[in-house]
Amino acid sequence: MSVIGVIGAGVMGVGVAQNLASTGHDVVLVDKDEKTLAAALATIERNSRMSRLMGGPALDADEILSRITTAVGAAGAAKAEIVIENVTENWDVKREVYETLDAECGPDTVFVVNTSAIPITKVAAVTGRPDKVVGVHFMNPVPAKPVVELIPGFHTSPETVERTKDLLHAMGKKAVHVKDSCGFISNRVLMLTVNEAAFLVHEGVADAASVDEVFRGCFGHPMGPLETADLIGVDTILYSVEVLYEHYADSKYRPCPLLKQMTDAGLHGRKSGRGFYTYDSN
């Protein structure tokens, strides 16, 4: 039975692993240390329990966990047929992971890049298999979001795209095709919106609750941009805006200093218990 490698057991890796396991796939979930992996399994167990409450299908947490094994270090995914990478949105971190994966995995293994903004062609260039590297921008929370962006890199082969589409289909996802570019469709727009919303708070124009209320009440969005930032992770927002800023060399993507301060202070949003709002975590 083939296994899918999931690298990075943070917000996204946890969701991807749960989604794969609940659709009958065997998963090896990889991170840097045992502590993160133990916390990830506990989160998957909790989220599986809560699935129906959140409007999803009723899930058997034990069955889901029985399909997931864990490993420390990217080499743990050496036997995977497809690897979905969800490590920190930082170029040096991603590059090192792809160098390891390229050395350890078989020549036919497909690498799926889950990134907020990093161009897929740039990631593919680190490997000796640019035809087998493809971008999939999953949405958060992964099990609850039926649509993803599918981004072939410059050298990605049609077979790789087909294999990836088959897996996405099995996971219950519809793919919107986007050409490779920094930030794709979603984050070219969303990251600027969140960044500008942070500027409103930073400048004292409005507090976070008022900013979000305008988006919910006036525009009918289910969540405002700052609640969304807390869901995504304030640090991940900052890193994504920085990636856009560097890539386009355009000052319109200058990151709001408040995002930097919050990231330094550990106010990373829901995952840390506090961001623009405070949560009763764990």
Partner: protein
Amino acid sequence: MSTTAKDQILTFVRERYPQAEIDASQDIFALGFVNSLFAMELVMFVEKTFGITIPNEELRIDNFRTADTMASLVARLSADLAVA
């Protein structure tokens, strides 16, 4: 017991949504700005505060709509605990 549970739950909900007027019979998910992620926080708060584990079949949104329904869930599960 169930009055205190109700009060504790109401305090928790009001702290999170200070801008809204919320009483014990208010359906908090009908307010328009409470999303399903808060339901998960409610489950964790209720389990931690009252020392209970809510069985899977009780993890339904209807049990968490109001402070009243949450308090009666707590009372029901605490009674089960006392009997067992």
